[in-house]
Subunit: 134 residues, 4 copies
Amino acid sequence: MAYRHQIQYYETDQMGVVHHSNYIRWMEEARIYYMGQVGLDYIKMEENSLISPVHNIECKYIKPSRFGESIDIYMKLEEFKGVKIKLYYEMKNLQDEIICIARSETCFVDKDMKPIRLKKDYPHIYDIMMKIKQ
Amino acid sequence: MAYRHQIQYYETDQMGVVHHSNYIRWMEEARIYYMGQVGLDYIKMEENSLISPVHNIECKYIKPSRFGESIDIYMKLEEFKGVKIKLYYEMKNLQDEIICIARSETCFVDKDMKPIRLKKDYPHIYDIMMKIKQ
Amino acid sequence: MAYRHQIQYYETDQMGVVHHSNYIRWMEEARIYYMGQVGLDYIKMEENSLISPVHNIECKYIKPSRFGESIDIYMKLEEFKGVKIKLYYEMKNLQDEIICIARSETCFVDKDMKPIRLKKDYPHIYDIMMKIKQ
Amino acid sequence: MAYRHQIQYYETDQMGVVHHSNYIRWMEEARIYYMGQVGLDYIKMEENSLISPVHNIECKYIKPSRFGESIDIYMKLEEFKGVKIKLYYEMKNLQDEIICIARSETCFVDKDMKPIRLKKDYPHIYDIMMKIKQ
């Protein structure tokens, strides 16, 4: 089941549609949701000083979205070789129209912002990531 | 000289005016600016594990404000007896019309969110606060 | 059933808790949700050029809230005599602790921002509001 | 002179750095600023029902940025053949380190979201855009 975001009034701008910066936030919502679905709990990870900064974002806005609409966000792992996590997102309104396609690149770093090789240091997370990939 | 905020497009909503939640953010901008003016550097304070959470906000919206406008925010200390810091804000557009009056109540706490008695633990900050008051 | 808000990562600040401006947004979420529950559809109202600006906000922050938590927001009508709508909000975490109590004052205005007397011009909305009050 | 953004406290997240969604907003700030510098006033354009939605965003985050820092945003026109406006952004901190490079693709549309051929319908804007390009 897709992650669903309910569009809020405060997400609109004076163009009468959702401000484009909010889609970047919805990507984060979806990312955290789907990570949770496969057993990667962001809160626990951060408690263990494992954080996940964003390195790259691409976002193609196809149709505007509006206050009151619900948006379903689909996500899949495009690439993961051990460090960089490349994710692909598709956002659809309830008329099943694609309103946005997007990509993000994240990794895991420790407290000092040093990238982590999951395979070596967190093999159980690595294993989970590899499962998503398949 | 007043703290000036330049209204951004992303601060508007579909009513065509600034979304009311942003005024709360402008209060913070002004608070940090004026604190800096009297020598209280938030960044250095946080490095010393001294943080300043908000306990209370009141905000009276008098006139709408719009994208492209500049807003001058005046602030004064209304009450300070050693722990709670009560501040008063007046926001004016460049036509000198009051668009919003607001109040905040903050205090300083340590890392464990325990309130700090400035007079005893940080006498130099206490002295600065007392000077603002006069 | 209370309106539930799931706290997002992007709602936090470097204090490690939710930034206080977001509670103002949650009040709006709850307001629109509960209005919808009694039959007042914001989208349809705005299509009819009936908008509902906020005139006053009060927000008392009692306990911090954190990323990953769910917050239940209860709302009730405190006062309504025909124009001003005074609402009261209580926000609780899932441990049933009150984290915030708040108030808002809104009204309905037409396209030119002129306040509307609901009883005369929109009697069906007036009737709905009166029912909430009881 | 570059457009300068002063980082606000509310732009940080619990990672202790600026939340990545804000860079998208800074791009908009810079875009509107530089457009204004060459004589394209967004406010007047919107009054004439000429709006400028974003079609594409790319954002490469190179170094984190923090509360209290000032960021200089440089922008240039990468491509413009009459409809799509491709802009390139470089963001630097005051240590002259590049913290982010980004691209946006916008166009101008009328009230019904129909793309506008600037050359034909708004030749003075077209001429301005062509001048930026050179």
